[in-house]
């Protein structure tokens, strides 16, 4: 584990992490908005 060349796999994982970061933020806030506005009622959540 001493080879030091940059790795496409690392770049891809970093990109995925950044995308998941935004996606999680958006999904979380949209769910919050849908619950607070009554679009997702309590009975729908197991």
């Amino acid at each position: 584990m001493t080879d030091a060349t940059p790795d496409d796999g690392v770049r891809a994982q970093r990109r995925t992490a950044l995308n998941e970061d935004w996606l999680a933020t958006i999904v979380g806030l949209v769910i919050l908005a849908l619950v607070l506005t009554g679009v997702i009622p309590a009975w729908l959540v197991p």
Partner: protein
């Protein structure tokens, strides 16, 4: 893109969807067990224990069992694209923000920032130093030091990008994070009981110690709601400092370790690029819920916030199931004892310094949970 590449890509997406289906299926079983086992076992010898078992325990155990079964069937690696621990945990944490009054975040921010800065400096410095003494590769040192001192796998990914590490080094560090985090989920809550720590101190200790954010939430949830809230605030503060460390590493490696004439100067923009955006979602959810409760009154708001909390629990269950499914021991065997020794020693230092800071900064703190 050639036809073969397109077919390969479609097949990869298909397996990832299958992986998500496995996570959701196991998550549904966990939710059923969590809600029904205490009632089903009431009056039996197992009944008293069942009432005390929190959902992270069911989720991780079922995840590990699923891991064994899928490995035996030879499909675990193919399905792994669907084990999105980071996405599930971050969505769960954004939703967790809605259950924390923004005033609590503001009052906890001071001690949380002090704890995060001191802990990251001490633990990063110690890991970097010990890794140097044991002659580890500089890039692996940077990955291990970032992972153990900041926030596990996300920090390792950011550091790998900053120092241009190899994929094997990142995979190795990520495996080490999970292997150390898994027992911590159960050992730290047990230690909280032995040491008789108050909930806020316990939360600060857990949040400052366990590397990966998902495992912090699991351990915090086992201790209780207040510990979970403080652990999340402390861990989120550490996450927020990730961008600073990543940019510092970029600068250090560009100018000191691999100094070349065309070394790219790290830009201020990178600080923003590497800032974990879910922290903004967590803060926004807290602000939205605080304003909402203020506007409609706590009695009207309570059932809505309770539904948000149920959804948060579901996302956390999916994250904990994914932790169990992702667990791998093999990479550790390949790398030898030195990196494991560095990581274990750094974890021990983190535990001790973290406990001192948590007692010093969070004794007497109340979140009102």
């Amino acid at each position: 893109m050639s036809t073969t590449e397109q077919t390969g890509r479609r097949s990869g997406v298909g397996w990832a969807v299958g992986g998500v289906a496995v996570v959701v299926g196991l998550g549904a079983i966990v939710r059923y067990l969590e809600q029904n086992i205490p009632d089903l076992t009431e009056g039996t010898a197992f009944g008293e224990v069942a009432g005390a078992i929190e959902y992270p325990v069911y989720a991780i155990v079922l995840g590990l069992l699923g891991n064994v079964v899928l490995t035996q069937l030879g499909v675990r690696e193919k399905l792994a694209g669907g084990f999105r621990t980071e996405f599930f945990i971050k969505t769960g944490l954004v939703l967790l923000g809605a259950s924390i009054n923004f005033a609590v975040i503001v009052s906890a921010a001071g001690p949380a920032i002090v704890q995060a800065v001191v802990l990251i400096s001490v633990v990063f410095g110690f890991t970097w130093w010990l890794g140097g003494r044991l002659d580890l590769d500089d890039k692996l040192r940077a990955l291990l030091a970032s992972a153990v001192s900041i926030c596990g796998v996300s920090a390792a990914i950011a550091a790998a990008g900053a120092v241009q590490a190899k994929k094997e080094q990142l995979a190795y560090t990520a495996s080490m994070v999970i292997i150390f985090a898994l027992p911590s989920i159960f050992l730290l809550p047990a230690a909280v009981g032995w040491l008789g720590l108050e909930n806020p101190v316990a939360g600060a200790w857990i949040g400052g110690n366990i590397d990966t954010t998902a495992a912090v939430s699991a351990a915090g949830a086992i201790v209780g709601e207040e510990a979970l809230q403080i652990a999340t605030i402390v861990k989120t503060t550490q996450n927020a400092l990730l961008g600073v460390v990543a940019v510092a590493l970029t600068a250090y490696f560009a100018f000191s370790v691999e100094r070349t004439a065309d070394s790219a100067r790290p830009k201020a923009r990178e600080l923003w690029e590497r800032f974990p955006k879910f922290v903004l979602g967590f803060l926004a959810a807290s602000i939205i819920a605080t304003i909402y409760i203020g506007a409609v009154g706590s009695d009207v708001a309570r059932p809505y916030i309770s539904t948000v909390n149920d959804l948060r629990t579901i996302f956390l269950i999916l994250a904990f199931v994914s932790i169990g499914l992702e667990f791998r021991v093999a990479p550790l065997k390949d790398a030898g004892w030195r990196p494991v020794g560095v990581f274990a020693s750094a974890t021990a230092v983190n535990l001790l310094v973290g406990l001192g800071l948590a007692v010093l900064l969070f004794s007497g703190f109340s979140s009102g949970a």
